[in-house]
């Protein structure tokens, strides 16, 4: 028992010792480091971590100052590779050669927090660390203590960034598995609009640990599309915390696409902190072999008249496992809340394990909250329908698996990303079938 404690603190200490030299707000960093030390690593006796063990973190010897470069051609293996507005981080540090930020951004800023124009920087710093809760969340504390850099997207009042912004975080190991703590702050001022794709990828079958925090602060009437992609190595360790805060009538549409990773834990939340604010949290997780994907979501309705939508869908094969915990809080003030949650899991094997649980905490009386969860296999009826038209059983199964996923894909912005993910999934499930190409799906 005691040796385990020492190992745990070793991991935290090693992270803290290595990280954060260029991070903003040294005082905040100190406090966060103290919090991270006090919290330690979560264990499975904690309700929030009951189904996910992070013991691998204390049992692995990480490289906390990884210096590996991005493998050549890595961008070409990712969706949205030609996004013109692009920041590429390798193990938490900006790779300027791979990044690209055009000059004219309609007044918006995309870059490092420490390089932000002075007037904006002050505001960004005042928000940094206030959206995601580093005081109680183990990995937010650790990230806040250790983040080497912070990427920023800021869009001023009434500006709209027409082109999507792609923030890419690569975890690249050479020798020992690399550990890094990517960080992004998205701040949209009143009535601003932007589309962000945040990709976390580990090349090949490398082991690397990415502990990310994304803070999203959206002012009144602003609108943000955010997609989080977890791609690449199925041996990677992804821990990702995303927290949004929405002011009056602000709108956040967030989609998480999980494909890579041996261990994936996403804590995704939004506070509907203004009247008629709206948040959509969607996800598609696809797991096989022994992949484990844990999604914890929290929609916190703090003000009246806010709709929220949540659609989490998973396709789980082999001995893979998936966890969904969907918490919906409706505070006393939040009358006329309208919240819809669903978690649907398609299992492709006998050994797949699903653990799904809604958690409603409702303190207002005039609210509508619906939730539902399903765990099932491909239905016989549509399967027979496809076969009765001449499509063989295997291809029909694959097509229906793809169809199950497409509902989440349909909501993804931009269109290009949607199409690329669709092709990726289609290739995964329908490879080798004699089905028309995925290009024909929308013809």
């Amino acid at each position: 028992m005691s040796t385990q404690t020492i190992q745990k603190s070793d991991f935290i200490e090693a992270c803290i010792a290595a990280g954060g030299d260029a991070a903003p707000l040294p005082k905040l960093r100190e406090e966060a480091a103290a919090a991270a030390r006090a919290l330690g690593l979560p264990h499975t006796k904690l309700e929030e971590w009951r189904n996910t063990s992070v013991r691998v973190l204390s049992e692995t010897e990480f490289d906390h100052r990884p210096s590996a470069a991005a493998p050549s051609g890595i961008l070409r293996s990712l969706p949205m590779q030609d996004a013109e507005i692009r920041l590429v981080f390798v193990n938490g540090r900006l790779d300027e050669a791979l990044s690209s930020v055009p000059r004219d951004l309609s007044g918006a800023y995309v870059g490092l927090l420490r390089n932000a124009p002075e007037s904006v920087q002050e505001r960004l710093l005042s928000v940094y660390g206030t959206v995601a809760d580093w005081r109680t969340l183990h990995f937010v504390a650790l990230n806040t203590a250790c983040a080497a850099e912070c990427a920023v997207l800021w869009v001023p009042t009434r500006a709209a960034l027409a082109r999507p912004v792609h923030i890419i975080h690569l975890g690249v190991s050479s020798g020992k598995p690399a550990a890094s703590h990517p960080r992004l702050l998205c701040m949209l001022d009143e009535a601003a609009e932007a589309t962000v794709v945040e990709t976390f990828a580990v090349p090949g079958d490398q082991v690397a640990f990415l502990n990310s925090v994304t803070e999203i602060k959206v002012a009144a009437d602003a609108r943000l599309f955010h997609s989080r992609l977890q791609l690449g190595s199925e041996k990677a360790l992804h821990i990702s915390s995303l927290q949004a805060n929405c002011a009056d009538r602000a709108k956040v549409e967030q989609t998480t696409f999980t494909y890579g990773g041996a261990l994936v834990r996403n804590d995704t939340g939004s506070v509907l902190d203004g009247e008629a604010a709206e948040t959509t949290l969607n996800a598609l997780y696809i797991a096989r072999n022994e992949q484990h994907v844990d999604n914890h979501t929290t929609l916190d309705h703090a003000k009246p008249n806010c709709p929220s939508f949540e659609m989490y869908k998973g396709i789980v094969d082999d001995k893979a496992s998936a966890v969904f915990r969907g918490r919906i809080i409706v505070r006393p003030d939040a009358q006329k809340t309208d919240s819809k949650q669903s978690n649907m899991n398609l299992i492709l094997s006998d050994d797949a394990v699903i653990n799904s649980k809604p958690q409603l905490e409702i303190f207002a009386d005039d609210v509508r909250c619906t939730h539902g969860a399903t765990i099932g296999r491909i239905d016989d009826e549509p399967l027979f329908y496809l076969r009765s038209r001449g499509i063989d059983a295997k291809a029909a199964r694959h097509l229906l698996t793809f169809a199950f996923a497409s509902e989440v894909l349909d909501a993804i912005q931009p269109e290009q990303l949607k199409n690329e993910l669709e092709a990726l999934i289609f290739a995964r499930f329908a490879a080798g079938d004699t089905l028309p190409s995925s290009d024909d799906l929308h013809s």
């Binding site: 016989d380 009826e381 549509p382 027979f384 329908y385 496809l386 076969r387 009765s388 038209r389 001449g390 499509i391 063989d392 059983a393 291809a395 029909a396 097509l399 229906l400 793809f402 169809a403 199950f404 996923a405 497409s406 509902e407 004699t434 089905l435 028309p436 024909d440 799906l441 929308h442 013809s443």
Partner: protein
């Protein structure tokens, strides 16, 4: 040779016998109508022909073009020219109607060793057939049957049939739920497909459809058996008298 030869077919579902010695012969070029009271086994027959495995064939035989149909997978039956227009077509969110049809048509052509259609030929074919059954082209790009009205679903079945050009068409109550204009359109679509090489079996409750699709034979299916067969005038007789006589006869067997 008969295209379809059903001999003394017994079919059960969940221990309950539904078809109880059904025999039927259909030649290429013929149109057969099957009528019968609710629950008499019409859809069961249609589904068994298409290869649904929820139904257990306990005895009897079905041969199609001289081969044992019951030995074939549903997709093989389709590829060899059997088509079932479902009484209750299912919706398939996430797959567009046109993609679905392309997948189906290509699979069938591949099975038969025919060249697949290229994108241009396929879209021309869809347009032509859509016109034939007067189906709104917007429906082709929507997910299969998703949010389709009852009538649209039925029309979509006939549209699929027109595209796939099967040899043996089984229409299970395609007329129910159709308004009178849609009924005429569907009937016209079916009539255009009548040919010496093709056989059609229509399951219906209404004599009205048979005014538009005039059958060569009418069969009355009661309690899992063909109780009577005749010409098109049998449908008129049923319209007037109902099934009471046949049900009494079946009960006394």
């Amino acid at each position: 040779m008969n295209m379809l030869e059903i001999k003394d077919l017994h079919v059960s579902v969940e221990e309950k016998e539904i078809l109880r010695g059904l025999s039927l012969s259909v030649k290429a070029g013929e149109v057969h109508a099957i009528m019968g009271p609710n629950g008499s086994g019409k859809s069961t027959l249609a589904q068994v022909l298409a290869g649904r495995d929820d139904y257990e064939v306990t005895s009897g035989s079905v041969s199609y073009e001289g081969e044992d149909l019951l030995e074939l997978d549903p997709e093989e039956r389709a590829c060899r020219g059997l088509f079932l227009a479902f009484q209750y077509p299912v919706q398939i969110p996430g797959i567009s109607n046109s993609y679905f049809l392309k997948a189906a048509l290509n699979a069938q052509k591949k099975y038969r060793g025919e060249p697949e259609l290229d994108a241009f030929e396929f879209s021309a074919l869809l347009k032509q057939k859509a016109k034939l059954v007067e189906i709104d082209e917007a429906l082709l790009h929507r997910a299969v049957n998703e949010g389709f009205s009852g009538g649209e679903k039925k029309r979509n079945e006939i549209f699929q049939m027109a595209v796939l050009e099967p040899k043996l068409c089984v229409l299970d109550e395609t007329d129910s739920g159709l308004d009178i204009d849609a009924l005429k359109i569907v009937a016209r679509g079916v009539n255009q497909m009548r040919s010496p090489e093709r056989a059609i079996i229509v399951v219906t409750h209404y004599q009205r459809l048979l005014e538009y699709i005039v059958p060569d034979f009418v069969h009355v299916l009661v309690d899992g058996r063909i109780a009577k067969s005749g010409g098109k005038e049998l449908a008129l007789e049923l319209e007037q008298k109902g099934y009471a006589d046949f049900e009494r006869a079946a009960a006394s067997v």
